[in-house]
């Protein structure tokens, strides 16, 4: 019964506009940061930093704009499983390309 009540609470959770404004500003700061970082020569770290900032921004969007932080466990599991599957596929593909015929392209 209490689980049912908790479940209903999840379905009705309304995210406050204050949270949305904070996320908007975080995303804008992230964008400014990634543009600024692209002009600084960090060598190999340039793409890594850019992707790290992009992942952070995407996580903020998924958790707050897309309400996953306030969603049911089923939604969280679905999103988590999907991202895990995506990362598995991409890393296996890249591992294959990196380890095969190294440098002979």
């Amino acid at each position: 019964m209490s689980e049912q009540a908790q479940h209903n609470e999840h379905a009705h959770h309304i995210v406050s506009p204050v949270v949305y404004v904070i996320i908007l500003f975080s995303l804008l700061v992230g964008t400014a940061l990634t543009v600024w970082a692209s002009y600084v020569d960090l060598g190999i770290w340039n793409p890594i930093l850019a992707i790290a900032i992009a992942c952070t921004k995407a996580t903020l969007v998924v958790l707050f704009f897309m309400h996953v932080k306030y969603s049911s466990k089923l939604t969280m599991l679905t999103v988590g499983a999907g991202i895990f599957m995506f990362l598995t596929l991409i890393s296996m593909t890249l591992a294959d390309y990196i380890s095969r015929a190294w440098g002979s392209w």
Partner: protein
């Protein structure tokens, strides 16, 4: 609950007036209905993740293979235009999120305003994209018969983005066409998603004015919001990968 035929006949009739009109009969409750719709929307978005993921993977592998060509080709993109578009899209995601909040708290005029703002910001994004595409056409950077290697075999020394570029040999320079193929495939697919989203937004603005989403049934707005935010996330990755990471 009883086996009695009299009750069994009366019960559905009584049920029929207890639930809101938007509750479909194969769901037990509005919560279950909303959960099922949200779950399905996420499954759809995951297929989209896989779809764009394939394009991103192709881009990463070819970038590693033909690194000099990809670096030189990416210098042809405008960071100010790309950055401005990121700004537009992030703000549109915010107005969309506010739209969902307005629907949840039953603010009809607020919802209509948010949807219109999202609509305008989306159109603005496509407008900037058109400017960028037109420049690619003028520079003959669209893959195909008219593709020109001129900018890569003889880099423009007067342009601040390309003044430090070394001229590429013909066999490497021709791989810039691959960069632009992926550029148009990825940004084009993204733009197609935007166009579909904007079309649905137009439909939603009229429905919202009629009060369709502010009477407690917010599933459509909520799930469209998920779609719109997903399109935003794709751009969050496209912008650094296509525009930013090859500036050195």
């Amino acid at each position: 609950m009883s086996d009695s035929p009299t009750i069994a006949q009366v019960a559905p009739e009584a049920d029929h007036h207890e639930h809101p009109p938007y509750l479909r009969h194969h769901f037990e409750s509005t919560e279950q209905q909303a959960d099922a719709a949200g779950f399905a929307m996420w499954l759809f978005l995951l297929t989209e993740v896989m779809f764009f993921g394939g394009l991103f993977t192709a881009y990463l592998i070819y970038r590693n293979w033909y690194y000099p060509a990809f670096v030189a080709a990416s210098h042809q993109l405008s960071i100010p235009l790309g950055g401005f578009n990121t700004l537009l899209l992030i703000t549109s995601s915010f107005t969309m999120a506010m739209g969902v909040w307005c629907a949840e708290t039953r603010r009809k005029s607020g919802l209509v305003l948010c949807l219109i703002l999202t609509f305008i910001l989306g159109l603005g994004f496509l407008g900037v994209k058109t400017v960028e595409y037109r420049e690619k056409i003028e520079m003959r950077h669209v893959p195909g018969f008219h593709f020109s290697l001129q900018s890569f075999t003889h880099p423009d020394k007067t342009n601040s983005a390309t003044k430090n570029d070394l001229p590429l040999a013909d066999d490497m320079a021709r791989h810039t066409e691959l960069y632009f193929s992926l550029y148009f495939a990825m940004t084009g697919m993204h733009a197609l998603h935007m166009i579909i989203g904007i079309a649905i937004l137009g439909f939603m603005i009229f429905r919202a004015q009629a009060g369709a989403y502010t009477s407690g049934h917010v599933t459509f707005v909520e799930n469209f919001g998920l779609y719109w935010h997903f399109v935003d996330i794709v751009w969050i990755f496209l912008f650094p990968l296509l525009y930013l990471i090859s500036r050195h």
